[in-house]
């Protein structure tokens, strides 16, 4: 399938320090691609180069078959951009904001129709004629997204669109983003929340210190750390049982931290009964059990040696 976005070897240096150091990926139509990485990883810098808002030092960007750089004009029509910071005219209403950008993109003939559609998608129809400055943070975020998707771009780029948003608005935002991919848009979504990447994205690039350290769908990424599960037992009187559990075949490690025994094991479900027997025999009392399948957090930790969120 023809990629809507293809970028390769992107490099951006600020004062000789590379903020982005050889990033490249492709996104197909209808695909949602997540760029997952902690603050300062280089997500915004990458996106700015893809949009042609920032001059790159090296690399190429092709969107909908056309190369993009800072002097592109008409080619930008293929891109919808939702900046990380809320970018609205606070003294205009949501409808006025949308109409202004609709005109800017030359949507005049079906402007009203399209504005109504977008208001509906982002759930602001009821408050459409209130000034943006009167909105809650979550509503402003939603309008921020609405403006980006207004002209039905081939590629929609969202830069951490849920930062600082209440859980309810966050859900609404994630739902509307999920709907975009199914409309056939290619979506580039950056976040430092791994749940969002897991929930929304067909493919994920894990970015750290300006490089993509791993890429794939969720299963592939988790496969990188060998699909080990984490079993956490709340126990008392557990002296010496960690060693015994670690000796069970299939268990990779077992460590006692306070009253928690943390066990890393492949296919933990089938080992659970054996583990519980060993623990009881060691004279410990089990008060709770928790089995966690590995997540992207663990993948990130595995790949970079640090936590995704600090």
């Amino acid at each position: 399938m023809e990629a809507v976005l293809r970028c390769e070897g992107l490099v951006k240096r600020f004062d000789d320090r590379a903020a982005v150091d050889g990033v490249g990926f492709e996104i197909a139509a209808g695909e949602t691609y997540g760029l997952l990485g902690p603050n300062g990883a280089g997500k915004t810098t990458t996106i700015s180069m893809v949009c042609g808002l920032l001059k790159r030092d090296e690399g190429t960007v092709i969107v909908a078959g056309e190369p993009i750089d800072t002097s592109s004009v008409e080619e930008r029509r293929a891109i919808g951009y939702v900046p990380q910071e809320i970018a609205l005219y606070p003294d205009l209403t949501a409808r006025e904001n949308l109409r202004f950008f609709a005109r800017l993109y030359g949507l005049s003939d079906r402007m009203d129709e399209r504005v109504d559609e977008v208001l509906d998608v982002v759930g602001l129809t009821d408050r459409a004629d209130d000034k943006a400055e009167e909105y809650s943070g979550g509503m402003q975020r939603r309008l921020n997204i609405g403006i980006g998707m207004l002209h039905e771009p081939d590629l929609l780029i969202l830069d951490e669109p849920t930062v600082g948003v209440d859980p309810q608005s966050r859900n609404a935002i994630l739902d509307s983003v999920a709907a975009l991919g199914s409309l056939g848009m290619a979506v580039l979504y950056t976040t430092h929340y791994m749940e969002e990447a897991e929930r929304l994205c067909d493919r994920i690039g894990i970015i750290d210190e300006g490089r993509i350290v791993a890429e794939g769908d969720r299963r592939e990424l988790i496969g990188l750390i060998g699909e080990a599960d984490t079993v956490t037992l709340q126990i008392t009187g557990a002296d010496g049982c960690a060693e015994r559990v670690a000796a069970i075949e299939g268990v990779e490690s077992a460590q006692l931290e306070g009253e928690e025994l943390i066990i890393i094991a492949h296919n933990a479900g089938s080992l659970l009964s054996e583990i519980l027997v060993v623990v009881r025999d060691a004279g410990a009392t089990v008060k709770g059990v928790n089995v966690d399948e590995p997540d992207l957090e663990a993948v990130f930790l595995h790949l970079t040696g640090k936590a995704l969120r600090d």
Binding site: L53, V73, R76, R77, P83, A87, L104
Partner: protein
Amino acid sequence: MTTALLLARKDLVQRLRDRSFLILGIIAPFFVAYILSLVAGPVYDYGFSADYAISDETGSVGEGLAEGLVDSGFGAEVVGSEDAARALVDDGEASAAILIPAPSPVGDPPPIVVYGDLDDGTAVVVAESIAESIANQSDAVRVLITETGNPASVGAYLGQEPPVGWVQGDAGDKVLDGITYLSVGMAIFFLYFTVQASIINIVEERMNGTLQRLLMAPVGRGSILFGKTLSSSLTGLLSMVVLVVATTLVLGAAWGPVWGVALLSLAAVVNAMGLGALIGTYARNAEQASQFAGIVATVLAFIGGVFVPISTEPGLFDTLTRISPHRWLLDGFGANSGTGTVVDVLIPTLVVAGIGVLLGLLAFGRRSKLTGVV
């Protein structure tokens, strides 16, 4: 072009919703001019208590002048000699003396001298206007104005070339009456604020991210720039039109021919825009830009003599005031309001607009600082 218009329209809608623009651009200048006119105003209206001593060596002008003044509600008296007129001022019995010399048969016509106490500035300003209007009527007479309580310095002026000051010059040139002067001054002063605020709006758009959105749209950078320029000009001209009409109707300011007012206003807008844009490239954020702009506008207005007519003495100080576009504009509006020639209006227009274009070009060279696009 449509993009520029679209942008300008959006900016104007925002401006008109912005209370600070309405206050700064329209209400404040009008209000300030009005307040000042209450101080200086009665002079021009009725019941002003200032008394004038007039000495007249021509034998023809003085009586008529006194009658006119009395008719207008002033106290006025023609006395026998210049010394007698000065003595009345020195004794505090007259606010100012208007000394009309005999016409000289050869050489330059001698100056009309206003002799007054600086402490009674309003009365002196009025006397100056009167002196100038006489000078205007008889083109042969030159005007010299001194505002001093020191007779020695008055004497020092006599027989010299008239200094080029803020209100005087050759007879028939550059005359602003007090009310008009205040109105023009305030209008220019606040015009700089509104236009600069409007151009600094680019910094604001950069800070709130909407500039990036504009840059992401499939429209040329040129039309974005043009749109911003357009809305700044329109904002400035809008406030100017309102002020000209209001001060004319309410305060009785005499702005002179419309074309002159339009040209000078445009020049002022161009200048303020170039200045505002340049200032914007040096500011880290919109607040800082407004602060810088406010300081610059106030200093220029002060140097240019908007608040206090500065220096009637020729020389370095007078030349210095010409750094300020406000000074040029006051001269230009003065010529337009009085009986100045077309050239007297055009020169300030060109100077002020030209400097504005120059500043604008400098700003354009530093545009990445304004837009944040690297």
